[in-house]
């Protein structure tokens, strides 16, 4: 018995080997919405298809993703927090910021809509009504792109959300949505995560369509001049892959079969001779 166990341990050890060479590993820091919607899986599979690269995608909030960029921990970022992104590039941590994708945020709430948010003329008005009714609101509170957008909307509504009706979850989009669902609270969510979780939650869209609710995603290369350990070649390869026609087709088709609608809108104009070396 002891021998069988020892043999099993050794077999496990060798089963664990086979780590790819460091230069073939591309580390992408991205947001939870890209993972939770399922987009990350199809991009990863397609990018790795030719066997040249392994994509290590870390799905965290945009704030944390940029933190991974600021310490040279990631090679490339796919994030959605435009103001922070501009600052990130201005401070010299990143280059080649390319906004290529968008979808939108939606304000979700319980079907009974206690704060009468339905019918608000825009997102700021919706937030005003939630605060006026002191209806529960769950915030990501994790410096993610969604959180930053939410803070902007509170500012536009002229409200400092610090009262007892405002819950700070400190979790990813899916975790925050689950809390809001259980507490029958209002919440700001990106549409892709909402659709991915719609079958599991009872919250409804109470406000959508405002220009202020647009959600823009960008790619940023981590500055190799600042961080020599960054896998520049691999990051360029992923950058080029995402900004290519096959990736565009995949992204535009994504969600049609499962949700009956397009989840992400590709707005980068691909140059036919786009070549990144």
């Amino acid at each position: 018995m002891t021998r069988i166990l020892c043999a099993a341990v050794i077999a496990l050890f060798f089963g664990c080997q086979g780590k790819p060479a460091p230069e073939s590993v591309v580390r992408l820091a991205t947001t939870t919405s890209v993972q939770d919607s399922g987009l990350l899986d199809i991009l990863t599979d397609a990018f790795q298809a030719d066997g040249k690269y392994t994509l290590q995608a870390i799905a965290v909030g945009s704030g944390q993703a940029m933190q991974l960029g600021k310490t040279g921990e990631a090679d490339i970022l796919l994030v959605h927090s435009p103001d922070d992104e501009k600052q990130f590039v201005a401070e010299g941590y990143g280059t080649d910021r390319t906004t290529f994708l968008h979808n939108d945020f939606v304000i979700l709430g319980p079907a009974a809509d206690p704060a009468k948010v339905k019918g608000a003329k825009n997102a700021a008005e919706a937030f005003k009504r939630i605060a006026a009714a002191e209806a529960l609101f769950v915030s990501r509170a994790d410096k993610s792109g969604t959180h930053k957008k939410e803070l902007k909307l509170w500012a536009a509504a002229g409200i400092k959300p610090v009262k007892a009706f405002y819950l700070e979850a400190g979790q990813g989009m899916a975790g925050t949505l689950s809390i809001a669902n259980e507490k029958k609270a209002y919440v700001l969510a990106d549409r892709s995560t909402y659709l991915a979780m719609k079958k599991n939650i009872g919250l409804e869209i109470v406000n959508e369509g405002d220009e202020a609710l647009i959600n823009r995603y960008s790619l940023i290369l981590v500055n190799t001049a600042k961080f020599p350990k960054v896998n520049a070649g691999g990051a360029r390869a992923f950058f080029g892959f995402v900004l290519s026609e096959p990736a565009r087709d995949m992204i535009e088709k994504f969600g049609l079969d499962k949700y009956g609608r397009q989840l992400f809108f590709y707005d980068y104009r691909i140059k036919s001779d786009y070549q990144l070396k």
Partner: protein, 233 residues
């Protein structure tokens, strides 16, 4: 109530249909925790035995530190390992962050104090006169420790079971060091957290059941060895 029963039903279906990704996750979980336990046993049992039999200054303080380590929060272990393995950290050149190797190191650090501390107390349960006697018969320190370990192997095995139980159920350290990357570092525990947050309770229950089954299988194997030895006495 209905959705819980339905969740279990779907979970069983998922397990029986042999979802290949789910089994790859289970395999990785098992590999990481077993290897980390094995490494912690190789280091912790000799270390604990030595600490138990040797007399040296500050021995009590050191043992108190090891005992404190038994309660080391996995997230703290994960954070420290992450900082050391990060590219800007001192061990960044190894490229072990977000790999199974990194997760094994973090779990090793969690298990080491547990197995060391339990080895210390197991060794101290041996009559000191017995140890002295073996020494006077001409055995070296390590030979004497080996002989004593044979006497207490059942208790040491209990230490192994305790260490493995802690590791296979652990989520904080592997989440931080592994990053829950699909096909690479997604473990049963981290996948369960993710699926729960997504509201995919059937998948979460299925993963939880597999985790329980795995834990049971390993503990059964260890217990069989333990009980075999009881009979052999």
């Amino acid at each position: 109530m209905g959705f819980i029963a339905e969740g279990f039903q779907k979970a069983l279906h998922l397990i029986l249909s042999g979802d290949s990704e789910m089994f790859a996750i289970a395999r990785l979980s098992l590999a990481v925790s077993v290897l980390a336990t094995a490494a912690a046993v190789l280091a912790g049992v000799p270390l604990g035995s030595w600490l138990a039999v040797k007399k040296f200054p500050l021995k009590k303080l050191l043992i108190a530190l090891v005992n404190t380590g038994m309660g080391l929060p996995p997230v703290v272990a994960g954070l420290v390992v992450m900082l050391f393995l990060s590219r800007s950290g001192p061990l960044g050149f190894l490229n072990w962050l977000y790999t199974p190797t990194g997760m094994i190191i973090a779990q090793f650090i969690i298990a080491l104090p547990i197995i060391t501390a339990l080895s210390i107390s197991a060794m101290q349960s041996v009559d000191p006169k017995f140890y002295q006697q073996v020494l006077t018969l001409g055995a070296s320190d390590w030979q004497a420790i080996k002989i004593c370990l044979k006497e207490i192997r059942l208790t040491v095995l209990a230490a192994v079971i305790a260490g493995f139980g802690r590791l296979v159920a652990e989520v904080g350290a592997v989440m931080i060091v592994g990053g829950n990357i699909r096909h690479q570092t997604r473990m049963l525990t981290t996948a369960t957290v993710m699926e729960t947050q997504m509201g995919n309770f059937d998948m979460a229950i299925a993963l939880g059941l597999i985790l329980l089954a795995l834990s049971f299988a390993v503990n059964l194997a260890l217990t069989l060895i333990q009980q075999d030895k009881v009979r052999a006495r």
